[in-house]
């Protein structure tokens, strides 16, 4: 009984700790382990190769392209989404019927499941019968594109535009959530600070980036972390729409890991990918915190 009382905290935590240990820590450690072997699960042969698979994959241009795709996607998504959300939130920071309707409309994509969103966009972006090309044609945008030498926008079907199309879909899905977070942040900035700034002769633009943005920094930082980590997890869209194509241009880490391990039966390479992904995300998060956390102002 005494043991229980003096170790109560630990004992209460034990179930959760056990869960974390078994389902998170152990698999991660085991992945590390597998990545140093060449393991054929079907025949059962397991040979130790040290960094062999690492060397092989890091020398494979297709694998490097997957990493590049993922990083490019991540940067674009985060930059575009947060920037757009910032301007949208500034615009929506008033109350009127139009603005309230707009807020609802913008947030709706966040509620819809990713698969539905993805399937929908697949059809919208169809070069022949999709809504996007139809509207662009009606608005004459296609003639504008022709000036750049683009005959027809192939969206998801061409290796030059496929990743861009994914970014569009991703931004569309996450814009609402980001906007709302920033909107809430903006509304918690006391109005009198802006009045003080007005008296300090600050123009609207200066008010925006000297006051609004810095005071929004906790929200911005939060969105940065959340967007970065979630963009690294992109899987459904790739799996349902393109399976990494065309020509590997939309293949992203999580999809590559899944496909290599479970469709191509190369579990060792898959583990190498997992380990590298862990390192990349860890590095990204660490640098975010190190570089930016002292720029974040908490009130």
């Amino acid at each position: 009984m005494r043991f229980f009382r003096s170790h109560a905290a630990l004992l209460f935590l034990l179930p959760a700790l056990a869960g974390i240990l078994i389902f998170i820590i152990y698999p991660i450690a085991y992945s590390f382990h597998i990545s140093f072997f060449d393991w054929d699960m079907i025949s059962g042969k397991k040979t130790f190769v040290g960094f062999g698979r690492y060397e092989h994959l890091l020398g494979d241009p297709k694998f490097i392209q997957v990493i590049v795709n993922t990083v490019v996607y991540m940067f674009s998504m985060v930059a575009v989404t947060v920037a757009l959300a910032l301007f949208l939130a500034a615009w929506l920071n008033k109350s009127s019927l139009v603005h309230n309707l707009a807020q609802t409309a913008i947030f709706t994509p966040h509620i819809v499941s990713t698969i539905s969103v993805v399937l929908l966009w697949m059809w919208v972006m169809n070069p022949d019968i999709g809504l996007l090309n139809y509207v662009m044609e009606k608005m004459g945008v296609d003639r504008l594109l022709a000036l750049f030498g683009i005959k027809k926008m192939m969206w998801l079907e061409s290796r030059t535009t496929a990743l861009f199309s994914f970014i569009v879909i991703g931004v569309w899905k996450t814009l609402g959530y980001n906007t709302l977070v920033l909107l809430a942040g903006m509304q918690s900035i006391p109005g009198q600070i802006y009045e003080g700034a007005a008296l300090d002769k600050a123009s609207s633009l200066r008010k925006f980036y000297k006051i609004t943005v810095p005071l929004l920094s906790p929200s911005l930082f939060f969105l940065l972390i959340v967007n970065v980590t979630s963009s690294f997890q992109t899987f459904e869209s790739v799996n349902v729409i393109s399976k990494g194509g065309p020509l590997n241009s939309t293949n992203m880490m999580v999809h590559w890991i899944y496909q290599t391990g479970f469709e191509f039966y190369r579990i060792s390479d898959s583990s190498v990918g997992s380990v590298l992904l862990l390192l990349i995300i860890g590095l990204a998060t660490y640098s975010n915190f190190r570089l930016l956390s002292n720029k974040v102002h908490y009130q």
């Binding site: 450690a29 382990h33 079907i42 025949s43 059962g44 042969k45 061409s158 729409i241």
Partner: protein
């Protein structure tokens, strides 16, 4: 801070230690990997089987992992139930794992954790993956020569590896040409369809009307149809020793040039979308009469007949000939794991023989649209009547005399994807020359050949 780092370090070290300990628990390589065909070595007992007591009061249970869903799964289950109720010595427990790929994933994990089933359904490429790694049992000892001769030649070839009979054909299919008779007739063309590549092209040119979005021919850029095209031009996908790629040679160039030219002139449409999405697009276009001729699988025949009933006359024909006729096969086989016990293997074979009995195979073929795998199934009244009513089924069967397939190779799925991607890109952007596309693909595929 130092304390924290130390304890974390200790934790990680412990975990890695435990993970490393796992090494010793790996099962010894399966006895079949080097190829003992006669007496199977002492196998690890499969936990999924009940106590082996032949002839005892309780029936011997074996597990069967399938990869069918929907109506096809129901058709199979009917036969499983029929088997189970027809005798009380063996009981088969059939469990659907989803589609071929999901099944494959689960099998991979199951093999490592010793929870694998006795028998399973494997898609053609998977037969190579699993068979070449020695996971599948050689069933030759269980079949007499007469029994083996029952199987349709064209369908059973891919189940034999290194002289071992590792896979029994079951739900097999082959690509055929589907076409809209009415559209052909309206264009003043021979209603029995194009017989050669040249005819395919000329027919398409006559029918196509791109401004109105009508095309003569549509074909998904899938490895199946790519193989077919290469074989039809007397080429092959790999060299005979399976060590080097061969699809980038003349035959491949001819195929890609043919398709590209047709796309450029507007007589062919290459459907967009990944994997089976593009097949759906092609079939949709056929049904809505936006295209006159498509390539698709016999497994789609039943569905297409239903969809086009009353709208137009749907016909089927052999794939047009290049320098010769050729068509690959697809679908899946029944296999038994080598790690299973002798008792389990015997039981599984008994069930397989039941499934491939003429009447049962005919029943399954009719219900699903897959090809009959044994020759005597064609004598069954159900199939006779079906073929009389819908001669399209006969076409698929008759084409089996021209089957040609790629021998099994490890990593085939990954290679198929590479080839498909490169050729699809050439269809979308026709400024890419056939040689460029094929050479790109060949380079990458060559790197994968171990």
């Amino acid at each position: 801070m130092k304390k924290l780092v130390c304890s974390l370090g200790l934790l990680v070290a412990c975990l890695l230690f435990f993970a490393a300990c796992d090494n010793s628990r790996d099962p010894a390589p399966a006895a079949g990997s080097t190829g003992s065909t006669t007496t199977p070595a002492a196998p690890a007992a499969s936990p999924s089987a009940a106590t082996p007591a032949a002839g005892a009061a309780r029936p011997f249970e074996i597990t069967f992992w399938t990869a069918l869903t929907g109506k096809n799964a129901e058709a199979l289950q009917e036969l499983v139930d029929k088997y189970n109720s027809s005798q009380d010595k063996i009981r088969v427990q059939a469990v659907s794992q989803g589609n071929y790929w999901e099944n494959g994933t689960k099998l991979q994990a199951a093999l490592v954790s010793d929870t694998y089933p006795v028998m399973t359904m494997l898609e053609v490429s998977q037969v190579g993956e699993f068979g070449l790694r020695g996971a599948l049992a050689d069933l030759a000892p269980y079949f007499t020569a007469v029994e083996r001769a029952r199987f349709v030649d064209g369908l059973v070839k891919q189940g034999v590896m290194d002289g071992k009979f590792v896979a029994v054909p079951y739900n097999r299919s082959t690509p055929i040409l589907f076409y809209n008779k009415d559209m052909l007739r309206a264009a003043g063309l021979d209603e029995s369809g194009p017989k050669t590549w040249d005819e395919l092209r000329s027919f398409s040119q006559k029918i196509s009307d791109p401004p109105r979005n009508i095309y003569g021919f549509e074909c998904p850029v899938d490895i199946w149809f790519i193989q077919a095209g290469i074989f039809q031009q007397n080429g092959s996908v790999f060299t005979s020793d399976m060590r080097r790629t061969a699809f980038q040679l003349e035959a491949g160039v001819k195929l890609v040039a043919f398709w590209q030219d047709m796309v450029k002139e507007g007589s062919m449409k290459a459907p967009l979308g990944q994997d089976y999405n593009s097949w759906d697009v092609a079939m949709d276009d056929l049904v809505t009469q936006k295209v006159a001729m498509i390539f698709s699988s016999t497994a789609d025949l039943t569905g297409l007949i239903e969809a086009t009933d009353g709208h137009f006359a749907l016909a089927a024909a052999f794939l047009p000939a290049g320098e010769k006729r050729a068509s690959p096969t697809g679908g899946a086989f029944l296999t038994v794991f080598d790690k299973s016990s002798d008792e389990q293997k015997a039981a599984a074979v008994d069930f397989i023989k039941f499934l491939t009995r003429a009447d049962n195979d005919a029943q399954f073929s009719k219900a699903t649209g897959y090809l009959p795998v044994v020759k005597d199934a064609l004598d069954e009244p159900v199939l006779k009547e079906l073929y009389a009513r819908h001669p399209q089924y006969q076409v698929a069967y008759d084409q089996l005399q021209y089957t040609q397939d790629i021998p099994p190779i490890v990593g085939f799925r990954e290679m198929s994807i590479i080839i498909q991607e490169e050729l699809k890109a050439a269809m979308v952007d026709t400024s890419v020359t056939p040689r460029q596309a094929l050479d790109n693909a060949a380079r990458q595929v060559q790197n994968l050949i171990k």
